[in-house]
Symmetry: none
Subunit: 228 residues, 4 copies
Amino acid sequence: MRSLTRVSTTRTFKRLPREIREQQVLDAAVRVFSHHGFHTASMDEIAEVAGVSKPMVYAYLGTKEELFIACLRREATRLMEAIADVVDPTLGLSDQLWSGLRAFFAFVGAHRDGWAVLYRQARGQEPFAAELAAMRRRIVDVIADMLDRAVRAEGRQIHGIDLEVSAYALVGAGESLADWLADHPDADPDKTAGRLMNVAWLGAAQLLRGDVWAPGGSEPPVTSRDAA
Amino acid sequence: MRSLTRVSTTRTFKRLPREIREQQVLDAAVRVFSHHGFHTASMDEIAEVAGVSKPMVYAYLGTKEELFIACLRREATRLMEAIADVVDPTLGLSDQLWSGLRAFFAFVGAHRDGWAVLYRQARGQEPFAAELAAMRRRIVDVIADMLDRAVRAEGRQIHGIDLEVSAYALVGAGESLADWLADHPDADPDKTAGRLMNVAWLGAAQLLRGDVWAPGGSEPPVTSRDAA
Amino acid sequence: MRSLTRVSTTRTFKRLPREIREQQVLDAAVRVFSHHGFHTASMDEIAEVAGVSKPMVYAYLGTKEELFIACLRREATRLMEAIADVVDPTLGLSDQLWSGLRAFFAFVGAHRDGWAVLYRQARGQEPFAAELAAMRRRIVDVIADMLDRAVRAEGRQIHGIDLEVSAYALVGAGESLADWLADHPDADPDKTAGRLMNVAWLGAAQLLRGDVWAPGGSEPPVTSRDAA
Amino acid sequence: MRSLTRVSTTRTFKRLPREIREQQVLDAAVRVFSHHGFHTASMDEIAEVAGVSKPMVYAYLGTKEELFIACLRREATRLMEAIADVVDPTLGLSDQLWSGLRAFFAFVGAHRDGWAVLYRQARGQEPFAAELAAMRRRIVDVIADMLDRAVRAEGRQIHGIDLEVSAYALVGAGESLADWLADHPDADPDKTAGRLMNVAWLGAAQLLRGDVWAPGGSEPPVTSRDAA
DNA sequence: GATGAATGAGCTTTCATTCAT
DNA sequence: CATGAATGAAAGCTCATTCAT
């Protein structure tokens, strides 16, 4: 468990353009950070896994902290893009939510390393908590905005702080299930998204009554009660 | 940011019984860990904040890791007890949830340091993730069981894994709002609990329709739609 | 292997006279030192094995160094006495040697702990090397004197330094076999003594007769007796 | 007594190749270990004496224990080679012994530090006793084998264990005189070798002729030669 | 006489970071 | 461009030793 094996088996002495080297190092860093955690990870190992000498790492990505933040940003950007690519703002709320959640869990399922770096590590370590909070804030704002527009479309209005808190709750539920997914390698990301959709969309009271939400349903969803 | 100031300004040279010193050290440790994170925190600082020499810390609480786990357990126990003291299993589901959430947010609001140690720090640091996972599991199981009994009381049934995931989502939402609460010192714990109750109990769809959940409502809750 | 079990199973709170306590502590110290070595041994463990609190150890036997020296002296005294009790200076040289060796190996065989403290530990550790050297010196002098008297009784004489070196060689051979004995728990001390006697005496006997070996002599060497 | 002065008075900031630095560190370590003993020696001092920073010591030679073993092995190898270079197995037994002893004492006389590390320190400290025992074992086996072949050449035979013990005795005598030599800086190694040869050879010669000493024999002992 | 409580001091070990080549 | 060599600084942990009771 001590050291991860080098990413590129044959260490290349070719003088590669800076951009490629940077990506190699970032890949290595994400791997190492996600396996060992920020503090336990050593620059030595990252350099070795990247197949590069330590001074190169410093030359290209800077301090250990800066390197970690670079990882954080790259993974966060990828995640946001994966979601943004898929959500169609012209659709109804439930469709947006559903497609967003699917994209989210699909991403986490495919990049469990990245997720680990992103959320599990960063959440507690002070220098990064702020960075991460800002990222989460962006998501929360997007969701709160979605809710707001949908509510206004119904001719009603919800207090800003209530919107924010609701969005936070949804994000928290999502992160929690992402963790759950990361710990259950065999679980299906799509099904997980469906389950969260059920809870989030219908609420406990409905579930209690036996209602079930299913993709493809028009909005408002057809619940068993409505169907009756 | 370097060092937290000593808890008791005048360092006491009195020979105190072991039990008291242990609590002093635990208090200091929770404070320091929650401010600096596990790795960044130094035993030196913990000892200093506790107003005790380092060897005492080791003699009474053991290794840094053991000390952290001791913090973890103490805070977790307090949290669980605070909730258990308040939840009445003979009540309906929504009442149990509501009282549980209130107790939860009240605790977090009153012990922000403890919460930070418990969830923010431990989640990512490998030796403790397992310990923490086990604790969360206990809560999840309790909630899942609550749901299960309520559903069966209605004469229906929900697949085990769906129960588990729902409970996970709820716990995640709760943790997320707890973080939010910890970051908003002026926010009211009770209101936060109410907001989560709304989202969790009613679900997004209902909120969209303008439904509002309020404490004291009988089960099933009276929604604006029912009222209409 | 961490801690040796207490010598007296039931820790006695009786106020015992100082002398007895001192012996208890010395016994414990010899045990602990011989198992862990001087530096690795801890005063805590010695106190615990002795069934006494640490301040008692300090009160009675002083510093760790002083305690070790006390062990050293007690064991050395016992060894010397065991030998002196048995050697009859009125007998011939070989009888003295033989009885002395028998007593020596018998002692080592019976007090392997003591031997370990005495020689293996003390030899290298600077504060004790001197102490030990002095003890060895006393034995060497006794042996050298025995040889000297025997030679003079034959009407001849051997240079002082040669006597000393011979005695040193004998002592070294004895210590070496004592180590060997300590490492072979099933070996018979008496037989070991016999074997050393063979080597030592048959050599010594020739010296006694005035034989001299010189480099370049063919094999078998021409002794003065053969020459006569 | 605290600190040995640096080997090279002017600390060199030149970047030296690893091999050279390793030797510098080993030299320093042997010096420091032999003066202070394993436990009392500090890595700080070793690094300082080597004219190198502590992390270098760890990078090149590893743990304190590993460093000590490296010293042990280097010194032992040197000693064995010094002897092996000189002993001619085609010669007679006494010539082999004599040349071996001369080489041995010459080495010890020239490398008193090395000797101290090798035998005085390692003998008692548990992690190394085994290592050292194995080394001594190799020497003992060589000597026992020499004896065995010589005895068989005479058409006789000696029991294995007797050979082993005799060899042990010889080695012990040699070590003892080596210590004596290390403590008498003005003594001549060659003369010391001669003195041991006298004791050892005149004894060995008798054994070679089949003489046997038995307890109770009158003085001077009746040898088979006398009996003839 | 006897002890639990308490500490100063020190040691090994590790790591992020930077020169000199 | 690329690296092996080198280090300052700090952290975890232990232990002999001593008060105050």
